[in-house]
Amino acid sequence: MIWHYLIRRLFLLSFVFFALTCFAFSLGHLFPGDPLVNFSGISQPDDELMPVLVQQYRLDDGYLQQYIAFLQRILQGDWGLSLASQQPVLHELKLVFPATLELVAYALLISFVLGVPLGLLAAIKANHWSGRAISTIALLGYSLPIFWWALLMIMLFSIGLGWFPTSGRISVLYEIPAVTGFMLPDILLSGQTYWQAALQDAIRHLWLPAFVLATYPTTVMIRFTRDAMLNVWQQSYIKTARAKGLSRSQVLYRHGLRNAMLPVMRQLGLQFSTLVTLAMISELIFSWPGIGLWLLDSINQRNYPAIQGGLLVISSLVILVNILMDVLHTLFNPLARKQANG
């Protein structure tokens, strides 16, 4: 029965990808300028190249043929050239995408480590001053405009105290070849003599952006853990567990936390898209060479092939995470499983 559900999700996924590629394709025509330039990224195709490209992109045919040709190019990895650098878009994406993933992953890690215990505490001590304080801080953090928060942190920790550098992933002193694209593993793999110093430097660069980006998901985590826990705590199975003679902490971890984490997990999937947007803004402020900074630069330069590629990658990531979280939620939650089948 669960297969039925998985197949339906798979169908949804393919439909969403279809719609997404349609949207990306139509952007080539919607953007100002010549569709040929928007798709290929060759700013001034000469007379020899022009007919070849028109033939290859099937621009003389109807939209359907053009779309099929577009899909083929996407699958083959020919995403056009960046108008700004005349490098293949896919190649540039491969360089910047891991940096964003790294930043988002550390931010999520921080938010889990901080958010879940604080949310639990806020739920257990709901009427105590500590619980109220945590809820208040969560509400404050939830309302912060991230660009302002990032600048305040820079003013305090970089300019005021001088603890952390303001921009980049690592000091230019260290040369780390990109193997995986993720900085910390790359340093370990580089085998350079100065790897320890480089690692320290990279971590110093990571602190501030990761902390700023983690603020929003942490507060979301606190709010939802708290609400879910308060909700679960009123259920009769908690009373039953207490009546059986289980200790408070046993009830909390075995019966409370497990059930409370389900809605939190679902919310995490829904909030992931916001997190990616916030990552784009913090990348801009901290000059973090990720996909967000790259995409914003591309928008300012009217670099249409790059905008198209960046949109495709970011949306695919968000959609995949969303559907993955939904599937995991259904697999872990017997109630949702029943609903999905019935």
Binding site: A19, P32, F147, L152, S273, T277, N300, I307
Partner: protein
């Protein structure tokens, strides 16, 4: 001794005053509501209150700190920026931009969302399923990213930003309204009304819509805080309101080069964005709690 009552006290009030009663008991929410009212008034009447023209440049008073600083000037209460424009006037004017336009955008998205949500909620079968899939797609693309893409197509500017954010807010409204309507359709009083011979339009007009306004307010307040943050963020990124405009996000971006010289010109507009969003979130949280309490009674 308490007076004997046939009916429970609370049922004598209408739903609106019940809601207000439980809203009023939450002090934080009331403070939020007051701030919200304050910002709305400033956004409406701000241009009449500014001590100076927000765009008037005074070359004799560049980069003045706020007046409580030793170097400050009492004529410029919150100091001036690098072109000698009065910060206080610009911040007041900014309320009409950031807060006022966010309000208009959210109202527009609410109206469109109501229309589409009703269509989605009342339709059945293939149409409803196709609608769901499109909605799922639209919900996954981040609202700010969607706005950025739309601005990339239309070109930067405030009007384009309004359209972009309205479009980007639309999916969550449609989704929320559709779910509320579906929930309502399962209620027994709807079935009873249908058995009385009411058609779809009558059910919608007399039963469902009066029962959804609480949900609508909650949805609206959530969308409003997103709208404020998105307008400010787009302004900050240089995609929204353009250069001389006194939009708060744009003011933060303008002051970026002056981060060493005049940190207050970054701190103040950002603080206002923060307080505006906070007030909306306080009201939103208070409303949700009040709605829950009222429904439990």
């Amino acid at each position: 001794m308490a007076k004997f009552q046939w009916l429970h006290q609370k049922t004598e009030h209408g739903p609106l005053s019940q809601l207000w009663d439980s809203f009023r008991q939450q002090h934080a929410a009331v403070v939020g509501l007051m701030l919200f009212g304050f910002f709305s008034l400033i956004a409406l009447f701000g241009p009449l209150l500014t001590p100076y023209d927000p765009y008037l440049q005074n070359p004799d008073a560049l980069l003045l700190p706020p007046s409580w600083d030793d170097l400050g000037d009492v004529r410029y209460l919150l100091g001036t920026d690098d072109l000698g424009r009065d910060q206080l006037s610009r911040l007041i004017k900014g309320a009409s931009y950031t807060f006022g336009i966010a309000l208009v955008t959210a109202i527009g998205a609410l109206l469109f969302g109501l229309l589409l949500g009703v269509l989605a909620g009342m339709s059945k079968g293939f149409r409803a399923s196709a609608f769901n899939h499109v909605l799922d797609l639209a919900l996954t693309i981040p609202s700010l990213l969607l706005a950025i893409i739309i601005v990339a197509i239309l070109g930067p500017g405030l009007v384009n930003t309004i359209w972009a954010i309205m479009l980007a807010l639309l999916p969550q409204f449609v989704h929320g309204i559709r779910n509320t309507i579906l929930q309502q359709l399962e209620q027994e009083y709807v079935i009873a009304y249908r058995l009385d011979g009411a058609n779809n339009w009558q059910i919608l007009r007399y039963v469902i819509l009066p029962n959804t306004w609480e949900q609508l307010t909650v949805l609206f307040s959530m969308a409003l805080s997103t709208a404020i943050l998105d307008i400010a963020a787009l302004g900050f990124l240089g995609l929204g309101a353009q250069a001389p405009a006194a939009e708060w996000g744009l003011m933060v971006a303008d002051a970026l080069d002056l981060i060493y010289l005049s940190p207050w010109s970054i701190a103040l507009p950002g603080l206002l964005i923060f307080i505006a969003v906070l007030s909306v979130n306080l009201v939103s949280d208070g409303l949700r709690t009040a709605v829950r309490k009222r429904q439990e009674n």
